[in-house]
């Protein structure tokens, strides 16, 4: 499979119309930090963690376009599809303590957690008792 940068307009429909709700979202080009050269495993792990904290949400990472992507996605959700702010915060608090989140992505489902958690009919892929 040929490696390509994720297209900037990944959230557009085939007709080129930009969508910003459940139908899609505007993606981003990931700034790939690459392999981190260090002499020891411990140092490598440390360097990786420094460059990409596994428990960071997207909003806490350097790429500004992540933040904008989330903001647009959540703000454009229909009101009846969106969880209330309290529930949103509760969900993200649980995600933040979950070992399955990596760079804001849930490794159980592949979703950006800040997007998935905003939708009321969605639940944690590990089970509804979580959220």
């Amino acid at each position: 499979m040929q490696r390509r940068e994720p297209p900037l307009d990944i959230g557009r429909t085939a007709g080129g119309k930009e969508v910003s709700n459940e139908d899609g979202f505007t993606g981003n080009g990931f700034a790939n930090d690459g392999y981190v050269e260090n002499r020891s495993v411990e140092k490598e792990a440390w360097a990786v963690e420094q460059s990409r904290c596994k428990t960071c949400f997207l909003r806490e990472q350097a790429e500004a376009d992540h933040t904008e992507t989330i903001r647009l996605y959540v703000s454009n959700l229909d009101a009846e599809m969106k969880v209330d702010p309290g529930e949103y915060a509760r969900r993200l608090e649980k995600c933040g303590r979950c070992g399955d989140m990596s760079q804001g992505v849930c490794m159980q489902c592949g979703c950006f957690v800040e997007m998935r958690a905003a939708v009321n009919i969605r639940h944690c892929p590990k089970g509804e008792k979580c959220w």
């Binding site: 499979m1 040929q2 085939a14 899609g24 981003n28 990409r52 996605y73 992505v105 979703c111």
Partner: protein, 509 residues
């Protein structure tokens, strides 16, 4: 109009190699991690870290071979990072796919354990793009040497005293692109050098070496790689290779904006299938070039990446290439596998991209949940072709769909298994029209007939809330009348038909 399919049981062609029904698993998104391998400490039921539900489902497909670890990932993969104590394995960022941390907990030992559980052949793709000859050579030694050697001793120290069997070894991947951006001549010379040190250490067993072939319609690549590999009087009769790869993906609306996996119209349906059918021309034209160098067809064409590629599911990491799977994918799989069967004198392996959670996957997972996609069911319905003998057949078809993306209304392939049972797989590409079909055996009569069907609305899919919305079912709309089979193919359907022949006229089944 009644369509007629005539099968010639006595006009036997070549064997359909089982490996045409092969799969591909890359370190990409949630294919390996989460989709197949959950680790030894997971709450999800597993055996040595492999999900039991996924392995059991895959075993039902009789997976013949699994390609690993890439893909583009292969040409950045350094195998030593993935052996030894897990806690001391290197952690790095998967720069190709999604930018998430790769902890190397799935490595060489885990791959062979997975293949052991699946009961499939092994296809390792080595690193030519950023690895050394020594690294590749020592990986082969690590995996296959049975005796006293540094690599064999290291393998034993890491918990596996006996060597494994490597059936196929790919020497680089997409070296025209992510595997080093090489010219065909440069790659071919590198291929000749690297493959020299992919040694056979086990008597009676040869590692089948696969040379990196073209992307889609790059016929210049095929020609120049073969010319270079066949040059020089010391060159082997088969250009130092047992296989030459070909990669081709179907993205309905083009590379930049590929289009939704589930939200599409009838026009896009036909456009997608038209693009899938292009595989036939690609195999034919690359095959013509191969025929010039290898008229005896000693070199296999290995379509080791194929399938649909859409815009990722909304809200998911674009680098994970996670997409849904509909009846459209089922039809793409059906017509493509029929094409492979018909070209199986040259195409002797193919690997769907990819096995779980990535691109046209046969299985999707979310946490502990798993579902079988429509593509899964096609592979299940086609499994009887594995190892069978291709039979000559004739089918009259109509051209349907828009003029710029017209397709035949029906697609088929036919084989006979070792017990003499005839298996025909037939796809109806029409969204709206059903067709009556009469199936006859030349100079013989049908004694018994049975069939399975997969059908549904064109964008019908399985979800974690409704995992069996699209599923294979027994097909009862067929009759055996006067030694012929009459059936009605619903629109948007795939049928697997099983026939036995005999002198006796059959009663209505």
């Amino acid at each position: 109009m009644v369509h007629k399919l005539t099968i010639y049981p006595e006009r036997k062609k070549n064997q359909i190699h089982r490996e045409i029904y092969g799969h591909f698993a890359e370190h990409l998104g949630r294919c390996i991690y989460g989709g197949i391998y959950v680790g030894e400490n997971s709450d999800i039921e597993h055996t040595n870290g492999m999900r039991n539900d996924v392995v059991e489902a895959l075993k039902e497909l009789r997976i013949p071979v699994l390609r690993w670890p890439g893909g583009c990932f292969a040409d950045e993969y350094h195998w030593r990072d993935g052996v030894g104590e897990k806690k001391s394995r290197k952690r790095m960022i998967n720069t190709h796919w999604g930018g998430v941390i790769e902890d190397n907990s799935f490595g060489t030992h885990e791959y062979f354990e997975l293949c052991r559980q699946l009961g499939c052949k092994t296809y390792i793709n080595g690193n030519l793009g950023s690895g050394t000859v020594q690294e590749m050579s020592e990986w082969v030694e690590y995996m296959t040497f049975d005796g006293v050697s540094p690599m064999a001793q290291w393998r034993a120290k890491n918990g596996h005293e006996k060597p494994w069997t490597v059936d196929f070894f790919g020497v680089g991947n997409e070296n025209w692109g992510c595997g080093g951006n090489m010219t065909p001549e440069y790659y071919a010379n590198e291929y000749r050098r690297y493959q020299t040190y992919v040694r056979d250490y086990q008597s009676g067993r040869r590692i089948q070496k696969i040379c990196g072939g073209p992307n889609v319609d790059d016929y210049v690549w095929t020609e120049q790689v073969l010319r270079t590999c066949f040059a020089h009087p010391r060159g082997s009769g088969h250009g130092f290779m047992d296989g030459l790869s070909l990669h081709y993906y179907v993205h309905p609306e083009g590379w930049e904006i590929k289009g939704s996996a589930t939200d599409f119209d009838v026009r896009t349906w036909y456009k997608t299938l038209c693009k899938a059918l292009y595989m036939d021309e690609l195999i034919s034209r690359h095959g013509e070039i191969m025929d010039r160098y290898d008229p005896e067809k000693n070199i296999a064409m290995i379509v080791d990446e194929w399938g649909t590629w859409y815009t990722c599911e909304p809200g998911t990491n674009p680098g994970f290439l996670y997409q849904q799977n509909t009846m459209r994918d089922a039809l793409v799989a059906a017509v493509t596998l029929n094409i492979f069967n018909k070209h199986s004198d040259r195409v002797r392996m193919a690997n769907l991209a990819q096995m779980v959670n990535v691109l046209q996957a046969v299985i999707l997972t979310e946490g502990k949940h798993m579902l079988k996609t429509p593509t899964y069911h096609v592979f299940h319905m086609y499994k009887e072709h594995q190892g069978g003998t291709l039979l000559v057949d004739e089918l009259d078809v109509l051209r349907i769909g828009p003029d710029d993306n017209a397709v035949p209304n029906l697609s088929e392939s036919v084989s006979m298994d070792r017990n003499g049972v005839i298996h025909a797989t037939i796809a109806n590409l029409s969204v709206e029209e059903g067709y009556e079909l009469k199936v006859t055996l030349a100079e013989e009569t049908v004694r018994t007939a049975s069939a399975e069907i997969l059908t549904g609305e064109m964008n019908g899919k399985n979800t974690f809330d409704e995992p069996d919305h699209i599923r294979e079912e027994a097909f009862t709309r067929l009759q055996v009348i006067s030694g012929e089979v009459h059936l009605c193919l619903p629109p948007c359907s795939v049928v697997s038909l099983h026939l036995t022949s005999g002198e006796q006229q059959a009663e209505k089944k």
